[in-house]
């Protein structure tokens, strides 16, 4: 798409990075002009609706095709019988992160909510009713639905290829030698991403060219997957994804329903729109798997950890692999001579779990932070003091130094702002003026500073303006704005002189927007592309006798506000436009790549950190909880735009509140159906759930993560927050609830 109409305030010339600009896409979003996938309506478009399975395992034995076809407006029903051929088996596992999908390849049903047919009609109403009229019949098989079901096995890897077991030191010896031990079992439920925007696709074929509007956190990967499935060259595919209505991991890999929309368009030879109904988002588009985590901790007489064992039981689907890597937080967070993380899993008749905002870190953090809190209490220590006692000066499991770690400052600044020093050590000591129990808890936040692989293109134009292109994804984190800021600085232009293009598969691959790595990855690609364009321009000038920069020599030229000047005498220089004009060029191009620095990664452990302090109030008789106040202090390297970063932290902290207190899938153990597959009873927080939030941006300079010093902020806010809230509930009530979300009935014991 073209450059966004700028609504940015506070535009300053000079360095754009670090400025709290308002969102450049803000005006589009507040006026309803921002076009999301489902807002597209090409001429001749038909509507498609999914019919999905209501059983978890078996076969479809019948569909009432006649009833559906007879419904006025229905154009076609796509079933395994007539589904257009694919060039690739959707069950083929080309790599660990190519997920199997259900594209009507046969009559098998492997989870509740699996698409079993697609109805295409002239109107949305007709397609929806047509799908309902299919009323599938099934031959069912016994199902596995819970952590208890089936035989546990050790998966070959967890998360993104991480080992299922990590051992450092002798945990058993450390536990034997401990003066005090804590063993605790924590349970986390299945959760669903529930981005506000349901997965949607508008697909149009023109011969063997394919045009797709669909939200994507990974445009290049999506193109690759679709090209493989349909057997067409990637360059024939154009995906437009200027705005995602939230992703949180569920729009990382293109999902089955999105491909079914493309297939439907092929079947009918007209453009087709397919939008998931909300209840259809509880099956084919991933979820966070449930876990049961066993923490075993030992400390010596001084409260220093002697051993930490974090065992994770999780689940995957019966037909594909993704294993929630909840142990990862224990690798990095607290110093201990002996640390072990182990995992096993059972297979359930569910859709395949997938990355969900802070995959592993979120579920692991709430368990680890709870167990750490339990040990602090057992030691009679303030939980913050206990965490400082066990502060990791180097990464415990690897022994590597941290590339930077301002966690002490996070603890200090967060505690100061929160007023932590007034906290009574014992639980159930504080009440508010209305008699509600008040509790304070703390949790440590952590998230790895990752980088994917991304590319960008920069152009300097003869009119003095610049252009940056990268296929970056804005899921709400602020890519349109933050990348424009990096782009402006990379070209040494004021931000309003730089056109920034993103959200389109025709642009250079920006890498997947995941792992909190997008700003670092695409940002470094932009940084490199801009520098490359400037360097090429400088070469032109330095080689030209007519230029005041002639012969300035290597690194003798710097870019300043649309001009190249001599480093030794900044009064001598000329504008980009002048250089290009004299060279007879309309523009000059640069290319850049963002990727991890392998050497630096070998030497350093790279993580963002934070400390979250939470206050909850609990009704002493009725058990209803409210998280009344959260203060988070986070250190995540260089901050591109503090306004947007604060919003990321707030959002993450609210996810933490939700994890501890609100959201869970209620699964019928007999059928595997999610019985609250809606937004009325799958409780995500409402405005009234979070009356007070504060995010403190702690200064941190990291010379090693990447040249821009960016660590990433999208996911860390959940970690620490969930545990802080849960620990605050303990402090308020004296009841340690180890099953999340904390249920009212868990707190009714002591009136």
């Amino acid at each position: 798409m073209a450059e966004l109409a700028s609504s940015a305030a506070h535009v300053r010339h000079g360095s754009s990075i670090g400025q709290p600009l308002t969102r450049r896409d803000g005006l589009l979003k507040v006026t309803g002009q921002a076009r999301y996938a489902a807002d597209n309506h090409p001429p001749g478009m038909l509507h498609a609706a999914l019919a999905v399975s209501s059983v978890a395992r078996g076969r479809v034995t019948g569909l009432d095709l006649e009833a559906a076809r007879a419904h006025p407006g229905v154009v076609a029903v796509m079933t395994p019988e007539n589904r257009p051929a694919l060039a690739q088996d959707p069950d083929e596992k080309a790599g660990p992160f190519v997920f199997r999908m259900e594209l009507l390849q046969d009559d098998t049903v492997r989870y509740v909510g699996q698409p079993v047919a697609v109805v295409i009609a002239e109107t949305l109403e007709a397609a929806t009713e047509g799908a309902a009229l299919l009323a599938p019949r099934y031959a069912t098989e016994p199902v596995s639905t819970g952590l208890e079901d089936g035989e546990a096995f050790v998966p070959p890897a967890v998360g993104v290829g991480a080992p299922a077991e990590v051992r450092h030191g002798d945990v058993e010896a450390g536990l034997v030698a401990a003066a005090r031990r804590v063993e605790a079992v924590y349970e986390t439920p299945a959760q669903y991403h529930n981005a506000m925007e349901p997965h949607a696709v508008v697909a149009a074929w023109e011969g063997d060219r394919l045009f797709i509007d669909t939200p994507s956190q990974g445009l290049a990967m999506a193109v690759g997957r679709v090209a493989g499935l349909f057997g067409i060259p990637p360059e024939n595919i154009e995906i437009r994804s200027p705005f995602l209505g939230g992703g949180f991991g569920s729009k990382g890999a293109i999902s089955g329903p999105q491909v079914l929309g493309i297939l439907a368009a092929k079947l009918v030879g007209r453009p087709v729109k397919l939008v998931l109904k909300r209840d259809q988002m509880y099956g084919p588009v991933g979820h966070r798997a449930p876990t049961r985590q066993t923490l075993r901790l030992g400390v010596d007489g001084e409260g220093a950890l002697t051993a930490l064992h974090h065992h994770v039981r999780t689940t995957s689907s019966r037909y594909d692999d993704f294993f929630e890597p909840s142990g990862s937080v224990s690798h990095t967070l607290y110093a201990s001579p002996a640390i072990a993380t182990t995992s096993d899993a059972v297979r359930l008749d569910t859709g395949t779990p997938i990355f969900m905002r802070a995959p592993g870190e979120a579920s692991g953090s709430i368990a680890l932070e709870g167990a750490i809190d339990e040990m602090a209490a057992a030691c009679g220590m303030d939980p913050l003091e206990f965490r400082l006692r066990n502060y990791a000066e180097v990464e415990p499991t690897s022994g590597k130094p941290f590339s930077s770690k301002a966690l002490r400052e996070c603890y200090a600044q967060g505690a100061e702002s929160f007023g932590w020093s007034g906290r009574p050590l014992a639980p159930r000591q504080m009440r508010d003026e209305d008699g509600l129990l008040v509790g304070w808890g703390v949790g440590t936040a952590t998230f790895p500073a990752l980088m994917m692989h991304g590319q960008a293109r920069a152009v300097l134009r003869r009119d003095g303006s610049g252009l940056i292109e990268t296929g970056a994804h804005d899921m709400g984190q602020g890519a349109w704005t933050a990348f424009a800021q990096i782009a402006a600085d990379s070209l040494a232009l004021p931000i309003n002189q730089v056109e920034f293009r993103a959200g389109h598969s025709g642009l250079p691959d920006a890498g997947i927007a995941g792992g909190s790595a997008h700003t670092a990855t695409a940002g470094m690609a932009i940084h490199g592309a801009g520098a490359d364009a400037i360097a090429r321009l400088a070469e032109l000038a330095m080689a030209d006798q007519r230029s005041p920069l002639f012969g300035a020599g290597n690194a003798g030229v710097v870019a300043r506000e649309g001009r190249l000047v001599r480093r030794d005498d900044e009064s001598r220089g000329e504008s980009y436009a002048e250089i290009l004009a004299r060279a007879g060029l309309d523009e000059i191009e640069g290319r850049g790549t963002g990727a991890a620095d392998q050497a630096a990664q070998q030497h350093y452990a790279m993580h963002a950190h934070g400390a979250v302090f939470a206050e909850v109030k609990v009704d002493p008789e009725l058990g209803q909880i409210r998280a009344t106040r959260l203060v988070g202090a986070f250190a995540a390297g260089r901050i591109i735009n503090p306004r947007l970063v604060r919003s990321q932290y707030y959002g993450g902290m609210i996810w933490g509140v939700s994890f501890a207190l609100h959201e869970a899938a209620v699964v019928d153990r007999r059928t595997g159906r999610v019985m609250n597959a809606n937004l009325g009873e799958y409780h995500v927080p409402v405005n009234a759930d979070v009356p007070s939030l504060e995010a403190i941006l702690v200064d941190e300079v990291d010379p090693h993560v990447n040249a821009l010093g960016i660590k990433g902020v999208g996911e860390i806010g959940i970690t620490g927050s969930a545990g802080a809230v849960a620990n605050a509930v303990w402090h308020a009530t004296g009841v340690r609830v180890r099953r999340f979300p904390i249920a009212i009935e868990a707190l009714l014991g002591q009136p």
Partner: protein, 165 residues
């Protein structure tokens, strides 16, 4: 069956032929009138993304049959700004970073406009939070939303006083 209804949408009177009584106000706006600013998040009255004003009141357009609204006045996000000038709620949403992905935003803004018209919350942030709780935001922009609603309301009062003076 076909029935004809009249609706005033964003101050423009329209006569609409409905070939199907099942069409909700939301689907009418989005799929038939090309007013796609109003979003569908749940289609069941559980998220608030589809909030519009009907006869000045905020409602979930997904749970209203278009046919039943014959004669009503509908205001959507597209009709809120005065030409190029954003409505004070829109401006305050930008200023307070009251959204991230933006998908719930049209509903949040229309809900905020409705809330200010209702004049029940006053300047009490807790009442604003409660009154905005029918609009889910999965990105978690609630802090900015509450601040934006309060500020827009102050601004609107000030503007009205200025005009009156």
């Amino acid at each position: 069956m076909s029935l004809s209804i009249t609706l005033t949408v964003n101050a423009v009177p329209r006569t609409i032929a409905l070939d199907d009584p099942r069409v909700t106000l939301l689907d009418l706006l989005r799929e038939r009138l090309d007013l796609t600013g109003t979003k569908k998040g749940c289609d069941r009255g559980q998220c608030g993304a589809c909030t519009v004003l009907v006869d000045g009141r905020r409602v979930n357009s997904c749970l209203a049959l278009a046919a039943s609204l014959d004669g009503a006045e509908v205001l959507t996000i597209e009709g809120l700004a005065e030409g190029e000038v954003p409505h004070p709620v829109q401006a305050a949403f930008i200023e307070h970073d009251a959204f991230q992905c933006g998908f719930c935003t049209p509903g949040q803004i229309m809900s905020a406009v409705g809330l200010i018209r209702e004049a029940q919350a006053g300047d009490d942030p807790e009442r604003v939070r409660e009154a905005m709780s029918g609009n889910l935001c999965r990105c978690g922009a609630y802090k900015g939303i509450t601040e934006a609603v309060l500020e827009a309301q102050r601004r609107m009062v000030a503007n009205a006083e200025e005009k009156a003076a």
